[in-house]
C-alpha cells in the first residue's frame, strides 16, 4: 500500500515539476524567446487547462463531450463582461477584480454544466456527445446575436440590434452582437496562466485519488457493477462533468483577458475547436493528465512552427485520431500487443 502511494506521489510530482521547470526555463531565457513563442505562452496554459478538464470527462468519467469550447465561451464572456463593466463604468481596475472574475466565470460555467448534465447523464449511451455538441452551437449562436447594455434604468437586452436596446444617452453597450465585447482589460500573463494550471491540476489529482474519483472511474469501467455496490451513476457523472465545465470556464477567463476583443466566432469557439481539444486528450492518453498537457503544448506550438504544412494539419489530426483509436482499442491490436509481451498476457486466458 505504502509503495503504491509513493509511486502515485512521484508521478504527480513529476507533472508539477515539469510545468514549473518549463516556466523557469522560459522566464530565464525571456530575452531569447521569439515574439512568436511569447504570443503563445498564455495559449499554452489555456489549452492545457482545456485538455486537462476535458480529460476529466473523457478519460476519467468515460463520457464524450463535444461542446467543451462552449463552456470556455461562457466563462470568457461572463468574466470579460464583468471586468470590462468594472473598468468602463465604475473605473475599477485591479488584480482583485480579475480574481473575482475567475471565480465568477467558473461558477457560472459550472451552473451551465450542471443544467446541461442533469437531463443527459441520466441516460445511457452516446447522448452526452450530441447534446454537448448542440449546446456549444446554441451558446455560439446566442452570443453572436445578443446585445446587452446598461444605463441608469438598469440592464437592457436585445436579440435584434443595438438601437433596440433603447439606451439613454449615458448608456453603455457591453456586448455588441457579432462584435462581442471590446476593450477588455489585459490581465492575463504567463505567470497567472501557470498558477491557474497548477491549481487546476492539483484539484483534479485530488479528485482522482479520493473516493469520488475512484467511484467515477469504477462507473466508467463497469456501470452495472458500480451501481450494484450502491454508487449513484448520475451523481458521480454529474460531479465530473460540472467540475470539468467549471475548469473550462477558468480557461475561458484566462483566454478572454489575453486579448482586447472577444467575439464568439466559429474559428475560436466552434465545433472544430472542441475537436482540437479532444485530439489533445486522445493523443496525450485518455485519463493521463500529464499527457494532456504535453500534447496540448506541442500541438499548439506545432502549427505555428510548421506554417508550410498548414493545409495538411487538420487532415493529419484526423488520421492520427483514427490511428490512435484503432491501435489502442481494436481487439485485434490489443491481442497483437499482448503477444509481443511474452509471458505477461499469454498465461491468462481472456474470458
Amino acid at each position: 500500500m505504502n509503495r503504491l502511494y509513493n509511486k502515485k506521489f512521484i508521478d504527480k510530482s513529476i507533472t508539477f515539476l515539469m510545468i514549473i521547470f518549463l516556466y523557469v526555463i522560459i522566464t530565464l531565457f525571456d530575452k531569447n524567446v521569439s515574439s512568436l513563442l511569447r504570443g503563445l505562452l498564455v495559449q499554452f496554459c489555456v489549452y492545457s487547462i482545456m485538455a486537462v478538464s476535458l480529460n476529466l470527462v473523457v478519460g476519467i468519467s468515460g463520457e464524450l463531450s463535444l461542446g467543451h469550447v462552449g463552456f470556455m465561451c461562457i466563462g470568457a464572456f461572463v468574466s470579460a463582461g464583468f471586468t470590462t463593466y468594472m473598468r468602463s463604468v465604475l473605473n475599477v481596475e485591479s488584480i482583485f477584480i480579475f480574481i473575482i472574475s475567475i471565480f465568477l466565470g467558473a461558477f457560472v460555467t459550472a451552473v451551465f454544466g450542471f443544467i446541461v448534465g442533469i437531463p443527459v447523464l441520466r441516460l445511457k449511451g452516446d447522448y452526452l456527445a450530441i447534446v454537448t455538441l448542440a449546446f456549444g452551437e446554441i451558446i455560439k449562436n446566442i452570443l453572436n446575436a445578443i446585445y446587452l447594455g446598461f444605463d441608469s434604468k438598469g440592464v437592457h437586452v436585445s436579440l435584434k440590434n443595438e438601437l433596440q436596446l433603447g439606451l439613454e444617452s449615458d448608456g453603455y453597450t457591453l456586448i455588441k452582437g457579432p462584435l462581442g465585447i471590446t476593450s477588455i482589460p489585459h490581465y492575463s500573463n504567463f505567470l497567472i496562466g501557470v498558477i491557474l494550471l497548477l491549481i487546476v491540476i492539483f484539484i483534479i489529482y485530488n479528485i482522482i485519488d479520493q473516493r469520488t474519483g475512484r467511484a467515477i472511474m469504477a462507473l466508467r469501467d463497469n456501470r452495472i457493477a458500480g451501481e450494484s455496490i450502491g454508487l449513484n451513476v448520475t451523481k458521480y457523472k454529474l460531479i465530473a462533468f460540472t467540475i470539468s465545465s467549471a475548469f473550462a470556464g477558468v480557461a475561458g477567463v484566462l483566454y478572454a483577458h489575453n486579448y482586447n476583443n472577444l467575439a464568439a466566432t466559429g474559428a475560436k469557439f466552434g465545433y472544430n475547436m472542441s475537436i482540437m481539444v479532444l485530439v489533445f486528450v486522445v493523443l496525450g492518453g485518455m485519463g493521463n493528465i500529464r499527457g494532456s498537457i504535453i500534447s496540448a503544448v506541442i500541438l499548439t506550438l506545432l502549427p505555428e512552427a510548421l506554417r508550410s504544412l498548414q493545409d495538411y494539419r487538420m487532415l493529419m489530426y484526423a488520421v492520427v485520431l483514427i490511428a490512435v483509436m484503432i491501435f489502442t482499442n481494436a481487439p485485434a491490436a490489443i491481442n497483437f500487443r499482448k503477444n509481443l509481451k511474452f509471458g505477461k498476457g499469454k498465461l491468462k486466458d481472456e474470458r
Binding site: 464524450l64 437531463p119 456527445a129 447534446v131 493545409d311
Partner: protein, 293 residues
C-alpha cells in the same frame, strides 16, 4: 396563405432530414454506433454530383445515380477501414473514431475542391407551381423532394420487412449472437446497412444542394447533426420514427426562421432535443431497452 408555403418548405426540408436520419437510425440500430461521418457523406454526394453534372456535363439524373453509388462505396470503405477493426471495443473509442472519420472527409474535400463555395445547379428544373391565382407559389423542388422522401420511406419499409436480407438486418439489430447462430453473416449485414445508409445520404446530398446551392466542405456537418437530432426525437433505431422526427424538425426549423429569428433557428432546434431528452428520452417511437447483466 404564407403559412402554407412555410409548411410545404418545412416538410420538404424535413424530408431531406428524414432521408439522412434513416441512415443514422439504421446504423445505430444494427451496429449500435453513432456514425458521426454520416453528415459528411452527404457532402461527398453533393460534390460528386456537382463534378459530373457541372464539370463533365453528364445528364443530371445519371449524375444523381453516380453520386449515390459513389457515396455507397465511400460508406462501405469507411466501415471496412475505420469501424470494423473496432467492433467489440468500447463505445467511446468508436465514437472518437467516427469523429476522426468525419474530420478526415471534411479536410479531404477541402484539399481536393478548395475552400471556395461551389454553386450547385439544381437537378430539378426550376418551375414554380402557381395555385389560387398566383397567391400560392410552390417550387417544383419542394414537391419532388417530398415525393422522393415518401418513396424512399415506402421502399425501405418494404425492403426491411419483406426481403430475406431485410429480416436478417432486423435480426442482427435484435441480437447479434443469436443471429450468427441462425446462419446470418453479421459482418456482411452491417456492411450492407452502411451501403444502404450511404446510398440514401447521396440522394439526400443532391436534394439538399438543390434547395441550398452553396456547396462547401462543411455543407454536410450541420444537416447531419440536425438529422441525428431528428433520429433521436423520433426514437433512435426506429425507421418510421426517423421519418416523423425529420419532418417535425424541418417544419420547426422553417417556421422558427420565418416567425421568430433566423439567427436563433438552430438554437431552437437544438433546444427541442434537450427538452425531448428530459421528457421522453427514448423518443417518440423508440423502445426503452432494459440492460441485462
Amino acid at each position: 396563405m404564407k403559412y402554407i408555403i412555410y409548411l410545404v418548405n418545412g416538410i420538404s426540408l424535413g424530408s431531406v432530414y428524414a432521408i439522412i436520419a434513416l441512415g443514422y437510425t439504421m446504423v445505430y440500430g444494427i451496429a449500435k454506433m453513432l456514425n458521426f461521418a454520416h453528415g459528411d457523406v452527404i457532402m461527398i454526394g453533393g460534390y460528386i454530383c456537382f463534378l459530373f453534372m457541372s464539370k463533365l456535363s453528364f445528364n443530371p439524373y445519371i449524375s444523381v445515380l453516380i453520386a449515390a453509388i459513389g457515396c455507397m462505396i465511400v460508406g462501405v470503405l469507411i466501415e471496412r477501414i475505420a469501424y470494423k477493426p473496432l467492433r467489440g471495443a468500447n463505445s467511446l473509442a468508436v465514437l472518437i473514431t467516427a469523429i476522426g472519420v468525419s474530420y478526415f472527409l471534411q479536410n479531404m474535400a477541402l484539399l481536393i475542391f478548395g475552400p471556395n463555395d461551389k454553386i450547385f445547379t439544381s437537378v430539378i428544373p426550376n418551375y414554380p407551381l402557381n395555385l389560387f391565382d398566383g397567391q400560392l407559389k410552390i417550387s417544383l423542388e419542394s414537391i419532388v423532394t417530398i415525393i422522393v422522401g415518401i418513396i424512399v420511406m415506402i421502399l425501405l419499409t418494404l425492403f426491411i420487412n419483406k426481403t430475406k436480407i431485410g429480416v436478417a438486418m432486423l435480426a442482427v439489430s435484435e441480437d447479434k449472437g443469436a443471429s450468427t447462430l441462425m446462419g446470418i453473416n453479421v459482418n456482411k449485414t452491417i456492411a450492407l446497412t452502411f451501403a444502404i445508409g450511404s446510398f440514401l445520404a447521396g440522394i439526400a446530398g443532391v436534394l439538399l444542394c438543390s434547395a441550398y446551392p452553396r456547396l462547401t466542405f462543411t455543407t454536410g456537418a450541420m444537416p447531419g447533426i440536425k438529422a441525428f437530432v431528428a433520429a433521436v426525437i423520433g426514437g433512435i433505431g426506429s425507421i418510421p420514427g426517423a421519418f416523423i422526427g425529420g419532418i417535425l424538425l424541418g417544419v420547426l426549423e422553417i417556421v422558427s426562421k420565418a416567425y421568430m429569428s433566423a439567427q436563433l433557428a438552430d438554437s431552437i432546434v437544438f433546444s427541442t432535443l434537450i427538452i425531448m431528452l428530459l421528457v421522453k428520452p427514448q423518443g417518440l417511437l423508440g423502445k426503452l431497452n432494459r440492460e441485462k447483466v
